[in-house]
């Protein structure tokens, strides 16, 4: 209860208001569309996307300049009474990634959900813009939340905005898929809520900074952490809890798939990291970390093999997402080891986050490319995509670049991430994860070349139903290039991702 135990979020910093803007800008957008009706929904959304991007850049710049977290204490009520928002280096980088991808998806979606004049939009296009803004708000709130209940609210906002995105087309099977997603995500929510109830009962706070001091290794904490994590894993679609992900992607519109795969599943992952590394650092036992990584390893192997066996391009990419999520979970055993003084100064910490960022860009680009292909030829059967490379060279090039990042071929963020995680396995002496990563890269090579081989074969290209505007193709390429640009990150633990992290890893356990 001692106030001096609060080491992190003590006062609002100079640019702290930016964090509020990041969350409420999308909300303002939603309110405006309600006020003005759907007539201007696309324009309102696009203006706010731009504003949100500026805010995200400003947050990133402020954290970089001040070399410390941005903090905003809502209403000046200090935790545990009030609500704190905090953006450390990881959050700032995360928010920038989110902003860039959401903006790209917004521009991309103008083709599918755009309005040519200020006409009343269809139900689907109105819903799309509102949901996109809601997802963004939820993601930003996830990135800056500093207490487990706020994070829960953000998580629910995210889930309830993401679920309808799956069934925008309104076909029976998409509604089934959405229900499947919602039910399973709700199961996850229940477990998470149970966990925070236990925590609150035992420790009297849900503020992460306070908890890190109070949580003791005892049964109640173990059970609470396990319940919350299991719930979040369900939302992250980590193998073997991925039942909702493939059907959700099968019928979702391409921009929806892109946002779902690139960003939404990462939201709950951030929370798992916050939970184990920030809120309850002493609880991350060797066995728990190994268990989480083992699930990740299963995801890599199963996801990749199943990706190889898909007949539809979208499902191939969806299974590839399941595989790529697996790599993220190597952060638990590899960053919590003894090779660095704190988890954040370890190379696995940087590698894990880079994997998240580069996968987000690569996967968004892949789903966008798949969307253009499907739009052009009217289907996405891989077997019938022979010669598509001639019809849509830029799109296939973008797909290839994104694929190379997934394989871990330089220069790409995927390569840097893989190099770092592999280095971490060497330093920690946990070579078994290296084996899985290398096999995963091999299988990724298999499914990427399966598509590229078909697309680049010399047969006459399929007849295009509609021609694809050049700017859409260039947009996809730009997103793929972001994944490539991440390859310029030096192969060392990143200083930026340690900003705002506590200096000493408080280990309650001996």
């Amino acid at each position: 209860m001692a106030p001096d135990a609060i080491v992190l979020s003590d006062a609002t910093t100079a640019d702290g208001y930016l964090l509020v803007l990041a969350i409420i800008f999308p909300v303002i957008g939603i309110l405006l569309t309600l006020a003005f009706g759907g007539r201007y929904v696309e324009r309102i959304a696009l203006v706010l996307l731009l504003a949100g991007l500026v805010v995200a850049i400003a947050i990133f710049a402020a954290v970089l300049r001040d070399d410390q977290s941005l903090v905003y204490i809502v209403g000046n009520w200090k935790p545990p009474l009030g609500i704190a928002l905090r953006a450390d280096g990881v959050s700032a980088a995360m928010m920038l990634t989110i902003a860039v991808i959401i903006c790209a998806i917004g521009l991309y979606a103008r083709g599918e959900f755009g309005q040519s004049q200020a006409t009343v939009p269809t139900r689907a296009s109105y819903a799309f813009w509102v949901l996109l803004l809601a997802i963004w708000s939820g993601l930003n709130a996830m990135a800056v939340g500093a207490d487990l209940f706020n994070l829960y609210v953000a998580l629910e906002l995210l889930t309830f905005a993401a679920v309808p995105l799956v069934c925008l087309k309104g076909y029976e099977e998409t509604i089934k898929a959405a229900l499947r997603y919602m039910l399973f995500a709700l199961l996850g929510s229940v477990l998470y809520l149970l966990g925070i109830a236990l925590i609150y009962g035992a420790y009297g706070t849900l503020d992460i900074a306070l908890l890190s001091d109070r949580v003791r290794p005892e049964p109640i904490a173990w059970i609470a952490a396990a319940l919350m994590t299991a719930g979040l894993l369900a939302k992250t679609a980590l193998f073997p809890l991925h039942l909702w992900l493939p059907p959700a992607h099968a019928g979702a519109p391409p921009p929806g798939s892109a946002v779902l795969s690139a960003l939404v599943v990462k939201g709950s992952f951030i929370l798992i990291v916050r939970l184990w590394f920030d809120a309850m650092p002493g609880l991350l036992s060797f066995a728990a970390a190994q268990l989480l990584a083992a699930l990740g390893a299963g995801a890599i192997l199963f996801g990749s093999v199943l990706a190889l066996r898909q007949a539809r391009l979208k499902l191939l990419i969806a299974y590839s997402t399941i595989a790529q999520i697996g790599y993220l979970f190597f952060i638990f055993p590899l960053a919590s080891g003894d090779s660095a003084s704190t988890p954040w100064s370890s190379i696995a910490w940087t590698g894990g986050w880079l994997q998240l960022f580069s996968h987000a860009f690569a996967k968004a680009a892949m789903f966008m490319a798949a969307g253009l292909i499907a739009e052009a030829v009217g289907h996405d059967q891989i077997a019938d995509l022979r010669g598509i490379g001639r019809a849509l060279p830029v799109t296939i090039f973008a797909f290839g670049l994104a694929g190379l990042s997934l394989m871990g071929v330089p220069p790409s963020g995927g390569f840097v991430a893989k190099w770092m995680l592999l280095s971490a396995t060497v330093m920690e002496g946990q070579w078994w994860w290296a084996v899985v990563m290398l096999v995963g890269g091999l299988l990724a090579g298999g499914y990427v070349f399966m598509v590229l081989g078909k697309a680049l074969s010399s047969t006459t290209p399929p007849v295009l139903r509609v021609s694809i505007p050049r700017h859409s193709e260039v947009l996809v390429l730009a997103v793929a290039l972001c994944a490539v640009l991440l390859g310029l990150v030096p192969l060392q633990p990143s200083e930026f991702l340690t900003i705002g992290r506590p200096d000493i890893h408080t280990t309650a356990l001996q």
Partner: protein, 538 residues
Amino acid sequence: MNAEMLLVLTLALPLVTLAGCLSRQFRRHVAVLLVVAPLPALATACLLADGSTVVLPPALLGLTLVLDRPGAMLLGAAALLWITAGAYAGRRFRGNPDGARFAVWWLMTLTGNLGAFLAADMVGFYLFFTLASLAAYGLVVFDGSPEAKRAAAIYVGLAVFGEALLLMAFVLMATATPDSSLLIGDAVASFATSPWRDYAMAFLILAFGLKIGLFPFHVWMPLTYSAAPIPAAAVLSGSAVKVGVIGLIRFLPFEIPMHNWGEVLVIAGLFSTFYGVAIGITQANPKTVLAYSSVSQMGLLAAVLGMGLSAGEKSAALVAAFSATFHVLVKGGLFLAIGVATPTKRGVWLVFVPAVVLALGLGGLPLTGGALAKLASKPLMGQGIVGVLATLSAIGSTLLMLHFLRRMWSSTTQSEARASLLPWLATALVAIVLPWILYSVVTDEPLRDAMLPKEIWEALWPVLLGSLASLALWRWGRLLPRLPAGDVIAADKGLVRLADASGAAMEKIDRYLREWPVATALLVGLATLLSVSASLGR
């Protein structure tokens, strides 16, 4: 023009040409430019001093490019081959709508290939190594025939596998290197203290062994070289494969003797040497025969490097680079010769006579580059069993190359139309002359020694024996079994079936796991497991 600019231009020109392909107008004429793109590389190799260095800015990954002596020799020969083969390809693809597609893959492979000879840091080397390997996929699959597709699929699978091994090797080396330096020199020096030394060596040898086609990783070679168009086969067999050789030269710690690993390389290399001959003489397609000759020759190179490694003999790097340089031009040249071989009178004089000299040069015909290379590597191979086997391999090489010449003679009808003789003749000429220029640089011995009667006889008798064996092969060759190209990989049908079955099984498991009762039970089970594992403590 200063050294740094020239080094940068070596890679920049192919890249700029590649970027130009974005323009439709440029694409139409790009086939003609294939000759021009490698020119700066040639200039770099000829003009720049040993040790010229350039460090690129961070926006270009902070790559370090260095021209050292082995790199310069290989870069020069490779650039020459890329120029002549580029001329051949340019003529073949002029006005062909597929030309641009070919040129794009060609230029990417070229960039990777040249870059690997210059890269002085691990990231750069890995980047160029990967670029050369993966872009070659497009060259192999170019024809679009079922054989080409199968060859390309097997090739790319093994290439990606090799890259995974190499990545692990580099990560192990980088982790052991102090000050987080990524320079190859620092990483190799750290072998002395690295706790992961043996693992790193194992991964290195596997990765580069795969690239140079050591048994049993040679299977991709006969398939790809047979399937690729002639100019592509020329640069892949001549030049691209040397990325593996330069890799071994750069990364093997010759200053820290490693007896065991040296022996591994020697045994694997010598086995490949004889294996390549044994399978090669059963092949009918001249391209396949040349591919098996590559397996054999690269095996011999690996043996030379292995001897150097186990003795801690630094000169092995230069000697191996010298042999490899000769091989670049001979192997690339002979592929070009297949394209222009005609049984007419002109064909005999302009194709077959130089081809005989080059081909027998691989067997060590006196006064050819092959004889000089064998002479240069003699001190390394020693007088023992390895030296004897190396000499015997010359008999095998002669036999195999005579078999090749005969197959080329009898399958000349397949030669591609409109091909030009000039690229072939230029390559052959350089292959004959260049070794004489480089010999004294490499060995510090006067050239006169190479012309002593004793040396000439020592080089000649294996060639004579090989020729005799070749007569026997001619007479009784039909008794040999006809093995499929790629020999052991012919068993891939079984592998495919196995992979398919396990994939189907995983699919079934996945479907089961995604059923509601199962998934819900897993959720609860995982929560339990997690709380138990959290309770176990650190």
